[in-house]
């Protein structure tokens, strides 16, 4: 009897079975977890409802900020005045927290239209328009300040207000959720 327990140098067929069974259980378990985790992701209806939307710009007066929704997310469409455009362009880009020239944040030839996501990049509050030191936006929650190009200029927000994907279908109409194909 004692002999059988002392000689264990060679892996046996039973050891192989233990390891193979254990590995199968781990892989099987992980595979079973996958659908449950995936069910948490945005579902098909939500994705379908996130198709591009058209916005007519004609009713938006100069100096006005209009709020629209795309994919449940708030988007600001700002018809900038000449002074606001100038203020956004006359900035030393290198001094910014998230350096971006104003020209990179608007479409060429449409500098009067600034289209940005309307949730603060800190924790998602809605900043108030035409307020704060740079008369861009001011977030009332934690004090982030944005300029007339939607770039962060103060407070805890780490990056500029992001630009949603959009394209100009004509001079007075944009499609949000669709990039120019050219």
């Amino acid at each position: 009897m004692a002999e059988t327990t002392t000689h264990v140098a060679e892996p046996t067929r039973r050891d192989f079975l233990y390891i193979a069974t254990g590995a199968a259980a781990v892989v099987g378990g992980a595979t079973l977890v996958w659908p449950f985790v995936q069910s948490l992701a945005p579902d098909a209806a939500t994705v379908a409802a996130g198709a591009p939307v058209e916005v007519d710009l004609t009713p938006i007066a100069e100096g006005q900020i209009v709020k629209v929704f795309w994919r449940g997310k708030l988007i600001f469409i700002r018809h900038r005045t000449a002074e606001e455009i100038k203020a956004a362009e006359d900035v030393n880009v290198a001094s910014l927290r998230d350096p971006q020239p104003d020209s990179a944040r608007v479409k060429e030839g449409h500098a009067q239209w600034l289209i940005v996501y309307g949730n603060c990049t800190h924790l998602g509050c809605v900043p108030l328009g035409q307020q704060g030191e740079y008369h861009g936006w001011f977030c009332p929650c934690h004090g982030s300040i944005f300029d007339t190009s939607g770039r962060v200029r103060g407070g805890p927000a780490p990056i500029n207000l992001p630009i949603p994907p959009y394209t100009f279908a004509s001079d007075t109409k944009i499609v949000i959720g669709q990039e120019a194909t050219a």
Partner: protein
């Protein structure tokens, strides 16, 4: 519950038959009847029982609310108003539940600071204590998701701010957030899953509470002297002494609870939450519930998104390391003249942080939050370790009995056998 061999012997034939198959009566007898309790416990030690009561109260009121509540973004707000106006006594059940959350946190904070003051977290109670921190974290998650359910303005924006904390995680943050939301923003799928989890988590809390009580019954309770039970004279049996005292404390706490429910049921809430959720407008001033304010102040004190989130998380996680950060051999602050002062400074700093969390993030409030946050962490990382080496504690009494009755001479004080002597921990 653990190494206290029960002397319980069932009297009836059925009792004997049942006990030999499921020894639950013996378990209850050894844990809650014969269990030795230090004779010098104060009312600060009744908050465990108060917390058990609050957990049960929240589950019972919550189960009834779930019968009338609709977890749908289009109907949730209406269904809460339906509970308030149409359901018989719905107003009472909802106010009990909403204020019950606050009362739960009142009790848990007393419980936590009692633990800090008397060094209950030190060996041999580290696991017991860390289980308590886990319960606290589960309570925070449950309370947060519960506050989202009425789908008012504070619900929606609170959910937006808190879920966005996860977007600070590098690389995978945005993905995690969309998996939390079940969409591209806080919406109906978010409300659905929060309701599901809000219903689940209290039962997980109940499970960890059982472990917490189990871990408590291994070393037994700490006490105001911090010294262990050395003989039967240091202790009294749980029943009737602790049982009656706990019940009395729970009743007094219920009066306190009822005052809020019946006289100022909305005082601890926010008026903005009676406005239906509107994703286009942020309330002028977003503040969390009062019990999250100190942590919220720490979050806002750091002028960096990821840094703020890390600081806020660390503010709680650091508690888990207290048994090892505190180098003092003496448990009870009653015998630590220096630490006593630092303890109360710490309490004041926590209240200050709470107040700062309720202020807007501007001007000197930000600087004050930063100073308090720095002190908060210094308390754990510098003061606790250093004091253990430099402080000269006061002499400890020889026993719990001596601390209560004074030094006894020649055993003339208490006649032997005058107390019912429970099992000694030795």
């Amino acid at each position: 519950m653990s190494d206290h061999p029960t002397t319980y012997v069932p009297k009836s034939a059925f009792g004997k038959w049942f006990e030999s198959r499921l020894p639950i009566a013996g378990l209850i007898h050894s844990s809650f009847i014969a269990f030795p309790v230090p004779r010098n416990l104060t009312y600060f030690w009744t908050f465990g029982a108060i917390l058990v009561f609050m957990l049960v109260a929240q589950i019972v009121t919550g189960v009834f609310l779930a019968m009338y509540y609709t977890p749908n973004a289009g109907m949730a707000f209406q269904s809460v108003e339906h509970i308030m106006r149409d359901v018989n006594y719905g107003w009472l059940i909802r106010y009990l539940h909403a204020n019950g959350a606050s009362m739960f946190f009142v009790a848990v904070y007393v419980h936590i600071f009692r633990n800090f003051y008397y060094g209950s977290y030190k060996a041999p109670r580290e696991v017991l204590y860390i289980l308590g921190v886990i319960i606290f974290l589960l309570m925070m998650a449950t309370a947060f998701m519960g506050y989202v359910l009425p789908w008012g303005q504070m619900s929606f924006w609170g959910a937006t701010v808190i879920t966005n904390l996860f977007s600070a995680i590098p690389l995978v943050g945005e993905t995690i957030v969309s998996y939390l939301w079940g969409g591209y923003s806080v919406g109906n799928p978010t409300l659905n899953r929060f309701f599901s989890l809000h219903y689940l988590l209290p039962f997980m809390i109940a499970g960890v509470v059982i472990l917490h009580i189990w871990a408590l019954h291994v070393p037994g309770q700490n006490n105001p002297t911090g010294i262990p039970i050395k003989s039967g004279k240091d202790a009294v049996p749980f029943t009737p002494y602790a049982t009656i005292k706990d019940i009395f404390a729970v009743v007094v706490f219920m009066i306190f609870f009822a005052y809020w429910v019946f006289y100022m049921p909305n005082y601890l809430g926010h008026a903005d939450n009676y406005i239906p959720a509107n994703p286009a407008v942020t309330p002028a001033h977003i503040v969390p519930e009062w019990y999250f304010l100190p942590f919220y102040a720490i979050l806002r004190a750091i002028p960096d998104k990821l840094g703020g989130v890390i600081a806020m998380g660390s503010a709680i996680v650091i508690w888990c390391f207290m048994p090892w950060l505190d180098t003092s051999k003496v448990r009870s602050t009653a015998y630590r003249p220096l630490y006593k002062q630092f303890f109360w400074i710490f309490v004041i700093v926590c209240f200050l942080l709470g107040w700062l969390g309720s202020r807007p993030a501007e001007g000197w409030y930000v600087i004050a939050s930063q100073i308090c946050t720095a002190y908060y962490f210094a308390h754990f990382l510098i003061i606790l370790p250093v004091l253990g080496f430099v402080e000269r504690p006061l002499p400890l009494p020889n026993s719990i009995l001596e601390s209560v009755m004074g030094v006894q001479k020649g055993g003339a004080g208490i006649p032997a056998g005058a107390n019912a002597e429970p099992h000694s921990k030795g």
